[in-house]
């Protein structure tokens, strides 16, 4: 009987430790401003659009000189970002920094690439679609099967839910021949028919080697990517860029970023701000002249510009996250429990611990509880008092409600 009561109090406490902080943040949280920042190939400095609280409207300015621009001026300061507008107005210069600029060049070199922690940390069904990469057709077509990677590669026909032994064997032979170590750790590809061409999958095997898998004229194509010493892949994402200059991004275990280039699969390091793919967001905005690398983390936003050809560091700027005001919660919320997070699609309990300051309010609550118990003329119970000293306001509320 008593034990059941404590089960109820513990559950009540946990639920409160989850919902109370959640509602507190619901009321007090402010959005951290995600200011648009882009490296200007004209000003050779970062330019930004931000909301001016004093003037009450958006302002466009050079971050370094603080010079403000009108909307039309701003287009020509960031010609690569507003290329469509400039081409259509006929205002695009013929060349910038000695580089010829025309719509073809801009379109083939301009791309956006975004990686969020939740892209990596999500439940995933390990089945993959491998398209024909030398299709005679203009459009990419569904191949009629999917593959899985267990202790071998297997192709399954969805219409019959049966394994295509012949094709599986054909591919498997290649895997064995090239020294692929099953089981695979991850496979990165882009299983979409809405793309210009197909470069198949980059697969990390059990020994952290990367292999490139394609289907060429219905035959397997498997190449091992020569990795420099010390590069252990952590996360891969493929990209099929219009200029066909590289295949994929590789985040290694040292939190460094590389691209697998189309030049004999050699790896090229991409300098970037500190970025943990399990916690931080990376956005790359590339153009023929510069790549803008934005990393949004708990600390704020860090932006680097690198040279598009040499991938050398050019410039950086940062926007510090706004202070959330005084966080009173640390005085009375001893800890909090969460189950969801922006960094993962998985549900799992996460505990956040508050400061030691809260111990004082915990003790006050434990004392208050003992007084209430005395007032209600019940017997003093040690366990709830200890529980409140540990769990503070949550245990206090749960005990007051469910104690009798």
């Amino acid at each position: 009987m008593k034990n059941i009561k404590y089960l109820i109090i513990v559950l009540g406490t946990m639920i409160l430790a989850w919902l109370l902080p959640k509602s507190y943040h619901l009321v007090t949280d402010k959005a951290s401003p995600n200011i648009f920042t882009y490296y200007s190939s004209i000003d050779k400095a970062f330019c930004a659009i931000e909301f001016d609280d004093v003037k009450g409207h958006l302002i466009r300015k050079n971050v370094k000189t603080n010079k403000e621009y009108s909307e039309a001026e701003f287009d020509s300061i960031l010609p690569m970002f507003y290329s469509m507008q400039l081409f259509s107005d006929g205002r695009m210069p013929k060349s910038i920094n000695g580089k010829d600029i025309n719509p073809r060049v801009v379109n083939s070199k301009k791309f956006f690439f975004r990686v969020k922690p939740a892209d990596k940390n999500k439940p995933h069904i390990p089945l993959y679609t491998l398209f024909e990469s030398m299709s005679k057709r203009v459009r990419i077509e569904m191949p009629g099967d999917v593959f899985r990677l267990t202790d071998r590669i297997e192709f399954i026909n969805p219409e019959t839910n049966e394994i295509n032994e012949e094709k599986s064997e054909l591919f498997n032979k290649q895997f064995i021949k090239k020294g692929f170590q099953f089981p695979a750790k991850m496979a990165a590809g882009n299983p979409s028919t809405r793309k210009a061409y197909e470069e198949g999958y980059f697969i990390v095997d059990n020994k952290d080697q990367i292999f490139h898998l394609k289907m060429v004229n219905a035959k397997p194509f498997l190449k091992k990517v020569p990795l420099p010493d010390g590069v252990v892949p952590n996360y891969l994402q493929t990209m099929e860029p219009d200029d066909r200059s590289f295949y994929a991004f590789v985040f290694d275990t040292n939190q460094e970023l590389h691209i697998i280039t189309t030049n004999a699969y050699s790896l090229q390091e991409i300098p970037m701000p500190e970025c943990d793919v399990d916690k931080d967001q990376l956005l790359i905005m590339a153009n023929p002249l510069y790549w803008n690398l934005n990393v949004v983390s708990g600390k704020g936003k860090e932006v680097w510009a690198i040279d598009a050809d040499t991938k050398e560091f050019v410039d950086k700027t940062s926007i510090v996250g706004v202070e959330q005001g005084v966080n009173y919660s640390k005085y009375f919320l001893p800890f909090s429990v969460g189950f969801t997070s922006g960094n993962t699609r998985y549900i799992k309990p996460i505990f956040y611990f508050g400061s030691y300051l809260v111990l004082l309010s915990n003790l006050i609550l434990a004392l208050a509880f003992a007084m209430i118990i005395r007032y209600r003329k019940q017997k003093i119970q040690i366990l709830p008092v200890v529980w409140i000293s540990i769990t503070g306001i949550y245990g206090f509320i749960a005990s007051i409600i469910f104690n009798r």
Binding site: I4, L7, G12, I125, L127, R148, P158
Partner: protein
Amino acid sequence: MTSALLFKEWKKTKWFAIGAFAVGLALLTYIFLKLGRSFRMVGLEHLWDVIVNRDQFLFRDVKYFPLATGFCLALAQFVPEMIQKRIKLSLHLPLSNRKIVFSMLGFGLLALLSIFVLHLIVILTFSVFYFPMEIIESMVYTLLPWYVAGLTAYAFTSWICLEPTWKRRIFNALLMFASLQLCFLSDFPAAYSLVVSVVLLIPLYVLPFGYFSVQRFKVGIQD
């Protein structure tokens, strides 16, 4: 004696249990017909693609069925006990109170579990035919929290019914709503795969709560 007790529970819940099972089957038939239509219209390859690469879930329609079933079964079983305090009769039966209460709760849980297991068997039998193990595994991880929610709703609702005072019933209900949220935190397929074994324990954790309220009834706590 226990079997007589179970007979009594069966008498109360028989029509409801059969009805819930039938409604469940009807729901599944509807889903299967809908799926059969998409098999014909777009083909299985496209369907697999949508499931694997676009995180679609085919059995979304069953989401609240277990919850509703668990909730109603508890009402069917315990409202007749609480009307006119009939629970006094049950507690006067020559068995220990603990045994009486837990037999009743155990019956409900097992009845519910049987409905759910049969339901899942139908789903899986259908799915094994059309989908590979990888998709089925993901499906099971997606479905389980919903079925656990049904069992949890049963445990909480019986606790609320057995509770003698209205004030406490309200608090119990609040705790139920908050706790049930735990089973519906995400619609993403297989989001619960890391914690599914812990989630399965929730109904067992909550089930004894009803006995606590019976003890409160026994000492005469009233509004």
